[in-house]
Symmetry: C2
Subunit: 111 residues, 2 copies
């Protein structure tokens, strides 16, 4: 697991906040999540992502894109769409997606 | 821990994405996090928040506000500012804040 956060991006950029409730660790989920993380790297304008999941609880992934073209390309990706469909049918109790334009950002690093 | 996600908000609204790296479970952190969660409920236009933390890893909190006035009130809150300062001095390895305007949102609920 990486401990490096996405940081230092210059606004404006876009973010997709994906929150989800997943009961336990369903079969195939981790492999699909890893594959999606690999696939999104090739989307033009993809800037990075951060993920966290409380054990047995809520998971949050935040992905960052330079522009709406990148967002749209990722949303339309056929393998991504198939994974979402499989997630609704087999994995998720619930999820929410918030697509937003980042107007301001800042950070802190002890290092 | 709640398993209910914030859902069904009508865009436009604002979100503050707070990602952080916290080494272990430092003393006083959980109490301060609970207090901040209590305090933010009183901010006009606060719509809710979702949180997740991978054990020993990255934490993400996403808070939602109806307008920029709510964002500003929360940012200027004196007790919140003191907690942030204490967090920089004693707790966080790093953090990032992304303030964004939500343009589109949707969700799924099995229930």
């Amino acid at each position: 697991m990486t401990q490096r956060l996405v940081a230092g991006l210059e606004p404006p950029y876009y973010t997709v906040v994906f929150t989800s409730v997943l009961p336990g660790s369903p079969e195939g989920y981790a492999e699909t999540a890893a594959r999606m993380n690999e696939l999104v790297q090739d989307v033009p304008g993809f800037l990075g992502s951060d993920s966290a999941r409380s054990p047995g609880g809520i998971g949050i992934t935040v992905a960052y894109f330079r522009d709406t073209e990148g967002l749209d390309a990722w949303r339309r990706n056929a393998e991504h769409q198939a994974a979402q469909r499989h997630g609704r049918e087999h994995w998720y109790e619930s999820y929410s997606v918030h697509v937003a334009k980042v107007e301001r950002s800042y950070g802190f690093d002890r290092g």
